[in-house]
Symmetry: C2
Subunit: 163 residues, 2 copies
């Protein structure tokens, strides 16, 4: 059984190993590989407007945050980040969370969703976001320093959600 | 006589009216028009890695910040924001600050500079950044809610600074 619900502070004990694994790899997110638990809490739980967990049979297998991307004249656009445990890849959890986040974003009154910094080398993610209705609206030349590939482009992806 | 130097806490007394005027207009920056002085201090002085003032004959007429745009794999790219007092427009101060910031960025070891959110309606700024070597690398559809024009595009602009 799979459910998505708002994360509690307690859930962070299960989120942290997922975050740490993803940040340490340095291949997909613009977080320092050395981000410690306290910093991760601030990044993933405190700074965003909302944090959710995807729970499969009682275990946290994925998580995402949703936050306002820019203040003032940009506050109708939100930003999300998603992480799935390496124990649960290939099960469609990113798709489930992305669709959930789009519904929530509309509920919260956002008109669009933006991903600011998708490593162009992250083929799976790029394909998935395209499939889920996002477009590549920007290409930041050599903006992502990949641990094996060196400087690769980062993509800005965007989806208008409102009517 | 014009000089650019690092801002002190005391300088914020002169920065605040400039910030407030720009934020309140809501036409160029993604700050809430209601941003108060304490929030502005945090945004302009605390959060960035560096804040500078442009001083003309002893008076602060412009200011800019420089910060790392993304952590970890994105930390070689910086971001800047510039503001000029309405009393000092048309004197080339934005150009002077932009060129200064590019020199500083190289000194600090950054390899590129990115502007995340330039209102497409801000013709003067767009033309200026193009002239100073930046390229439009992204267009965020209707991402900027302009007080008179409604939803306009926001541009992502970028310049590689390293060899």
């Amino acid at each position: 059984m799979i459910e998505i619900r708002e994360a509690t502070e307690h859930d962070f004990e299960a989120i942290w190993p997922i975050f740490h694994e993803v940040a340490k790899a340095g291949e997909t997110y613009a977080y320092s590989p050395d981000t410690n638990k306290e910093q991760a809490f601030s990044i993933w739980m405190s700074a965003p407007n909302y944090t959710y967990v995807l729970v499969e049979n009682g275990e946290v297998m994925g998580t995402y945050y949703l936050k306002t991307n820019q203040a003032g004249p940009g506050q109708h656009v939100c930003n999300c980040g998603y992480m799935v445990s390496s124990l649960a890849r290939g099960k469609g959890f990113a798709t489930i969370m992305c669709e959930h986040s789009q519904q929530k974003a509309v509920e919260f009154g956002y008109k669009a969703m933006q991903y600011n910094f998708v490593a162009a080398s992250n083929d799976l993610a790029v394909k998935l976001w395209l499939k889920l209705g996002f477009s590549v609206v920007g290409t930041l030349p050599k903006a992502f320093n990949h641990p094996r590939l060196g400087y690769v482009d980062a993509l800005v992806m965007y989806k208008w959600l409102a009517e």
